[in-house]
Symmetry: C2
Subunit: 396 residues, 2 copies
């Protein structure tokens, strides 16, 4: 049978990162590609005890069908934490537990976007999100990133030129892939502009807690007195990604429809992972664990930046993130990092070419993304050295 | 902000069953509504030991990101089992692990259906599936059920009248909600008709292993020499539903696109539940556990049928299933079981009105669905007695 693939999916290709990720499973490969958290930080002993106890003593709760919007005590706990730490959540908001932050983005899209509607994205942006929008046949419009967040003038222009813009997707803090953070002035301005133009903001914040400094900017959602922000969060980067537990807090009306969409997608998020997250947060101090994450990633980031200084050609620009998982590099010239990635993989080093994060993924791109959270210090240095040597041959 | 909900989702309402399910959590309520497996059969002790060991000894596998198409050893094991038990799987097929059988249906829909395309469904049919189709703005066309499966003449008519029919959705074995099973002659005929008309068959088989007899009919997928069947299965009814682990085996080309769609939906199915299913199947004899299920459900079904004979008005027709979880009743007259459900809930008994399973959910319906897998024998009898008394007041 010859399948006629739906319009929305016919042009979709798999994420290059996910493909590279398969390769990255090879222990001989130095992966600077994925966004995998450091596995040495997983609280596996704690989760092991909790899992044993839950399954032994509470089989119905752990193994029977649950409700679609999520395990109520977990929802309450996350709401409480968001309120206390971020001043997020009003009476008009509701919170839904999702199967990883990715599902929050996908559900908002399904609920709001008709084919052809415009979604404005930072450029570069997270491919999981851009592909979610593509998978509903949204038209993507990119707004260039600057060191202090998206270019506000370009955002205004994009809105003016696209009357059917319905969503702005942004990662204001430690953005993926650029590593940059939006200034407080821009946060306020972006909120104001979107409110004025009736555009929903998806604020994706999986990395916000992974700060290397004590500086803390308010989230856009904390300014949301008008009910225009859907805030997506995740336990992937602070507990463990394999659990697939995240959340989305958004205006009630929107969440009610997301619950309906989630019913037909996976009925509910797997109970045991939800319970593991809940019990872990109840029994342990999550902030202490996050503290360990912050220290380790700050160190790993510095290790990578030092190696870049030592081994990369001087003509290559790079960001110096204050948190999160990624460094963004620009070869500043007429280069195709997609081709370079294919070469460097022969030396057992993988990274993600910049085109992956662009609206037009076919166009060649001189940028690339590096991750420092997964590999050991030694491998980070070795990987950057190998990559640096390859880059020198090209640019010098 | 006033949200403009997408066309596909604007008319969608939550599943009535899921709403009733919330009520069913009340221990005072006798629930004949959901499709919850008997919790006393969950192998929770076994899973408890496995979970503890996995998290303790293999944190990276259990907690790090996994691949989108599923944990490879689990995929291989399920393929092996399907081949051995059902003669399912050709060189042109591929298998994807999904977050419950529901996700298999949703992904096939997303990949194949454009808004307005026709999906043919048995009528009555499973609301999780019909709502998944609705959520992509498919046009549903119902084909009436008969005791031996869907009416073939009506199927032919539906195809003739709907040139853009792309999918037939069927639950041939112990259908939800009717409890009926499609005869082997009809299976062959349905396959032939769909092949001739280039229509993909989604064969949903969550209950196939829950047979009360030793009679076993071949699945439609086992006849699939032409690559026209996507077969959805689940561990929800044979291990535990809260895990949210299922699978779909379908032509490679289709599965490749489903993997792309799953990437943007939940990245991958939670690792720990996948590993629990895998290790459980490796260490224990799943068939022995299924045997316990079959015996218990056969007994519970008979308990319900006996109670129906004793307490229901004689004018009410019901099916006598040979497997699965449901009995389907018809009041045979101008009755609205939606209204009756609202009355009976006051006596703490819940069931699902028939309109839930119809293409036109607004039309009043004289049928209703009863579940016997969740409640104790005593509660089944008590529930049927209360319901019978209420029905007698109406029909006599």
């Amino acid at each position: 049978m010859k399948f006629e693939i739906s319009d929305r999916m016919s042009k979709m290709k798999g994420s290059a990162i996910r493909e590279i990720f398969k390769l990255a499973g090879d222990p001989n490969v130095i992966s600077l590609a994925g966004g995998n958290p450091a596995p040495e930080l997983f609280p596996n002993k704690e989760l092991s005890e909790i899992a044993k106890e839950l399954l032994e003593t509470n089989p119905v709760l752990s193994l029977q069908y649950g409700v679609t919007d999520g395990y109520v005590p977990l929802r309450d706990l996350v709401k409480e934490r968001l309120k206390a730490k971020e001043n997020i959540g009003t009476e008009d908001d509701e919170l839904i537990i999702v199967s990883g932050g990715q599902q929050g983005i996908e559900l908002v899209t399904k609920v709001l976007i008709n084919e052809g509607d415009v979604v404005i994205v930072e450029e570069p942006s997270f491919i999981g999100a851009t592909n979610a929008f593509r998978s509903y046949n949204a038209k993507l419009v990119g707004v260039p990133m600057e060191d202090d967040g998206l270019c506000v003038e370009e955002l205004k222009k994009a809105i003016k030129e696209n009357k059917n813009a319905k969503i702005l997707y942004t990662i204001p803090t430690f953005q993926n892939p650029s590593g940059n953070t939006m200034s407080i002035e821009k946060r306020k301005e972006v909120y104001r502009i979107c409110k004025e133009n009736n555009i929903l903001i998806i604020e994706d914040n999986p990395y916000g807690e992974l700060s290397f400094t004590d500086e803390k900017l308010p989230t856009i959602k904390s300014m949301d007195t008008d009910g225009i922000v859907a805030y997506c969060g995740s336990f992937s980067k602070v507990i463990a990604p394999g659990l697939r537990v995240g959340f989305c807090i958004a205006p009630k009306e929107l969440v009610a429809k997301m619950v309906v969409a989630k019913q037909v997608s996976d009925v509910h998020t797997s109970m045991l992972p939800q319970l593991l997250v809940y019990e872990f947060m109840k029994r342990y101090n999550l902030d202490e664990y996050i503290e360990r994450n912050r220290k380790l990633y700050a160190h790993k980031c510095q290790t990578m930046l030092d190696a870049i200084e030592e081994y990369f050609p001087k003509s290559i620009k790079h960001t110096s993130p204050k948190g999160g998982l990624f460094v963004w590099c620009d070869m500043c010239g007429d280069y195709d990092t997609g081709e370079i990635a294919k070469e460097v993989v022969k030396d057992n080093v993988v990274f993600v070419p910049g085109s992956t994060f662009m609206v037009d993924m076919e166009k060649k791109c001189s940028c690339f993304r590096l991750n420092y959270s997964t590999m050991s210090d030694e491998k980070i240095v070795e990987g950057i050295k190998i990559l640096g040597n390859a880059l020198k041959k090209i640019v010098e």
